[in-house]
């Protein structure tokens, strides 16, 4: 099975507190630690497990600047066979549709059976996978938390819905799936693993290789544009308990007793 996994380089929220910069034009980028989008790691792990079971290859692709190469390489260290970077100055400022159409152009250069994305990334959008599927006219399932390979024409997927329940579908290949966290346990990648793939070539494709009209992507093609970042007017918020730890504990125990929080 030929599998393509879309991965995005994002600020790592488990390593950083994200804050708005002074004039609200961006988040504070100094000292930010970046990593691969949490959801994408699960997608790559799933792809590797499928390949190991039924054969084929796993390719990871990212749309971004040259720094995005590091996350492509990291996912190759996990066990992906190939990496591709889709990068061009004209891609900057693309909205979700722009990113999906750039990936679509790459998809059309080869025959893939299965494309996986993460359920969502740093912007909390959850859009690229569904758009890509619709652009390709392939079936789509989002929030996938279970995959079973039936044969080389169809697979079974579980989609996560409310209450911890799952919807089960049979879906024809080729298709696009967005992968939810928890579907597997992504393997650990050590420095050694990274070193092993350090010299592997990662081709870079831009507008000319992909044959896309630069006007249709990037800032110029975007229907959705971010104006600024801000911290909303905060409401009342919580009453923050202050003082020494002992004082805070006294106060908290008193409150908990009053609210029935200690049995």
């Amino acid at each position: 099975m030929e599998i393509l996994v879309c991965v995005k380089r994002v600020p790592d929220t488990s390593e950083n507190e994200i804050e708005v910069n002074r004039d609200g034009t961006d988040i504070e980028r100094d000292d930010l630690v970046y990593s691969v989008n949490e959801w994408d790691n699960y997608a790559v792990e799933e792809a590797i497990q499928i390949r190991d079971k039924v054969g084929g290859s796993v390719t990871v692709v990212s749309v971004g600047d040259e720094e995005a190469e590091e996350v492509v390489r990291r996912e190759m260290a996990m066990g992906a066979d190939k990496g591709i970077l889709l990068s061009d100055d004209t891609f900057e400022g693309s909205d979700g549709k722009g990113v999906a159409s750039i990936i679509k152009a790459e998809v059309e250069k080869r025959n893939y059976d299965l494309i996986m994305t993460g359920a969502q990334a740093d912007e909390g959008a959850g859009q690229v996978g569904g758009m890509l599927a619709a652009m390709l006219d392939w079936p789509y399932a989002s929030l996938v938390s279970l995959i079973e390979i039936v044969d080389d024409k169809k697979i079974k997927v579980g989609r996560e819905i409310a209450g911890g329940n799952q919807e089960i579908y049979e879906i024809d290949l080729p298709c696009v799936l967005s992968i939810q966290t928890g579907i597997n346990e992504p393997r650990y990648v050590g420095i050694r693993g990274i070193r092993k793939v350090a010299s592997m070539e990662i081709p870079v494709h831009g507008t000319s290789e992909l044959g896309i009209d630069p006007e249709s992507v990037g800032e110029s093609g975007a229907q959705v544009k971010r104006l600024d970042y801000f911290v909303p007017e905060l409401g009342e918020g919580a009453e923050i308990l202050e003082g020494s730890t002992d004082e805070i504990i006294d106060k908290l125990i008193e409150l908990l007793k009053a609210k029935g929080g200690i049995k």
Binding site: T13, G126, A134, S142, A162, V224, T245, L255, G260, G261
Partner: protein, 329 residues
């Protein structure tokens, strides 16, 4: 001419989802002069009942009635909606597990802009809608301009808009089934098989009065002990956010949130939980919420009644010790 806005109505077992009435409010904020039409799919008596209820709040209700819609598959519905929705319309869909399946592809098929997970609207200027969104699980907010001159598909965050439940619309119900069914039945490449219910765990957190809920801030499975110790000291049950289940440190039945359980405790302790809307969406009944988090700017502090800015690894064991001391004295 007034702008046409459509709201896709989610319903289950004959009950209309709260998001239906939230989208009326959202549409009003988007454009006070908008004509808002509800779109409801389903079948039979259940669909009729849902349409009647929705018609008391929407001026117009479009229904699609077909046996195959007894369980609604987003891939099928998308194919039907494309046939009935006028070009350039604005379509609102709740940003939940169903909307996330339906909406991005719908925007492509309708050839309109897509704007996911809106939490507020701040007016239209020159064909561009100003929208408030959140990024990084609510750590920062953004203003976004969305070009709606050719329409748009917009998902609205459940709970973000205050529901408008004034029952004065007496709307007319229009049967759009014939138009929707023209042509092949869509969605054949994905076939719904069944719903697998969640496994029942050893504790039922939906019945607990006191929940000690742990999030990614706990950092390591070995630290989980301090959470159980505290729960035992105060006589509560342990629940958690999603990453704890993903890491397999607790069973799925203990997960609070939109893809986990909906809980209604009297007291909820959020320990090392940031406060994403998917987590908070599972907490109902206005409990007394205490948040302990080392990041003073964590969104959970906007939701909690009482906050403590500290490291849970230090604070929680001390708290448990003190409560145990009190009890034994």
């Amino acid at each position: 001419m007034s702008r046409q806005v459509f709201a896709y109505i989610i319903h289950k077992d004959g009950v209309v989802d709260d998001t239906a009435f939230e989208m009326i409010a959202a549409a009003g904020k988007l454009d006070p002069d908008a004509l808002v039409t509800a779109v409801v799919a389903g079948t039979g008596a259940e669909l009729s009942a849902v349409c009647d209820e929705v018609a008391s709040s929407f001026v117009e209700v479009w229904k699609i009635d077909n046996e195959a819609l007894a369980y609604i598959d987003a891939e099928v519905l998308r194919g039907l909606l494309v046939r009935i929705l006028p070009k350039d319309s604005i379509v609102l869909v709740p940003h939940d597990h169903f909307g996330m399946d339906l909406a991005p592809g719908l925007s492509i098929k309708l050839e309109t802009a897509y704007l996911p997970d809106a939490v507020d609207f701040e007016g239209i200027e020159d064909g561009k809608l100003k929208v408030v969104r959140e990024e990084y699980s609510g750590q920062v907010s953004t203003h976004v301009l969305c070009d709606i001159s050719n329409g748009a598909v917009i998902t609205t965050r459940p709970g973000a808009f205050k529901a408008d439940e004034s029952k004065s619309a007496n709307g007319k119900i229009v049967d759009k089934t014939p138009e929707a069914m023209e042509g092949d039945f869509p969605g054949g490449a994905r076939r719904f098989l069944e719903v697998v219910e969640a496994e029942v765990g050893d504790v039922d957190i939906t019945k607990s009065d006191i929940l000690v809920s742990v999030g990614r801030g706990i950092d390591d499975e070995d630290n989980m002990e301090i959470i159980f110790d505290l729960a035992q000291a105060i006589g509560g049950d342990v629940s958690c956010s999603r990453p704890i289940v993903d890491a397999k440190w607790l069973e799925k039945s203990r997960q609070v949130g939109t893809s986990g359980q909906t809980v209604k405790p009297k007291v909820y302790l959020a320990l090392g939980i940031s406060g994403s809307f998917q987590h908070l969406g599972g907490i109902k009944g206005a409990p007394f919420v205490v948040a302990i988090n080392k990041n003073a700017k964590a969104p959970i502090f906007q939701f909690a009644d009482v906050g403590i800015v500290d490291d849970i690894l230090d604070f929680v064991p001390e708290l448990a010790d003190r409560i145990n001391d009190l009890k034994s004295s």
